[in-house]
């Protein structure tokens, strides 16, 4: 993400932790959050949980937060998709469990709509 522009909120923070599956302790099953930092553009945000569309919102500026409902034991799939109205956008996606970050990914100006989503599997104990 090296650019000549000044650093943005999407550049800040720890290094990326790009994983596909995270383990969720039973005690934390209702404390899972998706946080998105949205930079240099307005966004359309879609959130899917286990095949259901939970959110479809536009325009979303600056930041987005979604608290997942309490999840039952087993595997659950969280997908978030994003479309930016701008050509120089950045996004920082963060999933936290009980306030601890378990997934962190930055993307910017990706090429195609097929890439403008991330899917994370949550393995609830």
């Amino acid at each position: 993400m090296a650019t000549n522009s000044p650093p943005t909120r999407c550049d800040e923070g720890d290094q990326d932790v790009v994983v596909g599956a995270v383990t969720v302790p039973a005690a934390s099953r209702d404390r899972i959050k998706l946080n998105l930092a949205l930079c240099k553009a307005a966004f359309r945000i879609l959130v899917f949980l286990d095949g259901d569309k939970k959110i479809d919102r536009a325009p979303v500026n600056d930041a987005f937060e979604y608290s997942l409902p309490s999840l039952s034991s087993g595997d659950h799939d969280l997908q978030w998709s994003y479309l930016a109205a701008g050509n120089d956008w950045q996004i920082k996606s963060e999933v936290s469990i009980d306030g601890a970050t378990c997934f962190l990914e930055r993307k910017a100006n990706v090429a195609a709509v097929a890439d403008q989503q991330t899917l994370l599997t949550l393995r609830v104990q």
Binding site: P59, D75, L119
Partner: protein
Amino acid sequence: MGALFPIQSPLVAQCSEKGLVQSPTVVMAERIKVLQGNPDSQFFESAAEAPQTASKDKQTAAPSGSSATSTLVSGASFSELLALAIDNGLISSQNGATTLNLNLFGFKALAKPTILDKQSEYQKGEFLRRWGGTLTFGGKGESFDRDGDGKADPALEAKDFEDIVVGELRYRFKGSRDRRDKMNVDRFFAETDSFAVFQTALNRVFDSHKDDFHPMIKGSCYDRKKVEEYLDRPEMKEELRTLAPTGQAAEDAIRKTNEAIDHSAVWTLVLGGTRRKQDFGPDKRMAAIRGSIRDFTVNLEWSRTDGLRGARDQALWKAAAEYSRLILQGNGLTEALRKDGAKLSGSASYDRNENVPTAKHPNIWKVNTKLEIPIVKGVKLPISVTWADHKDLLTDANEVVGHFALSIDFSELRKIGEKVTK
């Protein structure tokens, strides 16, 4: 907490490692792009290639090429701000003249970089971005008869800043080509619902096979080989094939909407003037309306220059229109032509001079058509044909026949030749 979430440990591999993939949708996306026939699809141009300010008419001013090193949170001090303004071309100096770019939003962005980052802050600057202009101090005056002997005297260089002051103020009173302005954001999302359709379909495909995908989790990532083998099955290929047109439709909608925004109508009012001390030439005032609509550009301009030694003021009216578009993109004979295309333009102008002693004709009509062919990257061969209602206006042409003049500009090619010879 770290024990509960082993993936947080820096020792745990991330999914970019060989043999792993973050999720099956990553591989699905790869396959869909291949099925769409453009694995390197670049509908979302990189920031370096795409104009963040979509056209020359746009007046924003976000310092996109900034090399600013200020931090996000701390405001710049005046001296830092001045240095950043110079770095970003908001203050420049050339040929003894210092130009201050009256780009208020640009200055604001230098002082507070978060307004470029945060869309909510950026949108608040819409009114400010409508304004632009320049203020130039110093430079060289005009050649004119200073001592009244009937002969023009050489132009003088300004010694003090206030010897020559040139100002221009621009106000974009209608339209915007900035993709981040609210009107364009609303339009963009209203016309790109197909993105949601595609993402929903993609999620549905994953969800209908999740019970097969979940056992492919290896540690905290998916096993790429297993995912690929699964997606290589004929029935999965067929399922992804049905997604490809939906993805393509979304990309087409996004591209078309962005193109429409980039070519939307923009109208700007320009007011300007030149104030000079007596020895540097007469004062001038000007006003203009400039518009861009799709591939058309139109200008209507008026200027008035003070008459010297009791002479009447000189006035110039100018109306011009130009149509330009790129042709032969992707089909040209050379790589440069294929990539950049050739620019074909047609223009017409009318000048009316009132009390201008140096003008031979009070009314001047010109029509021009021009083709600029890129030969190699950065080198163009312009060929133009001009018609004018007075033959003596057709200067600098290779060939003049009647009221027509043909010009072929070999200067850029010559420069290459000179470099090769050296």
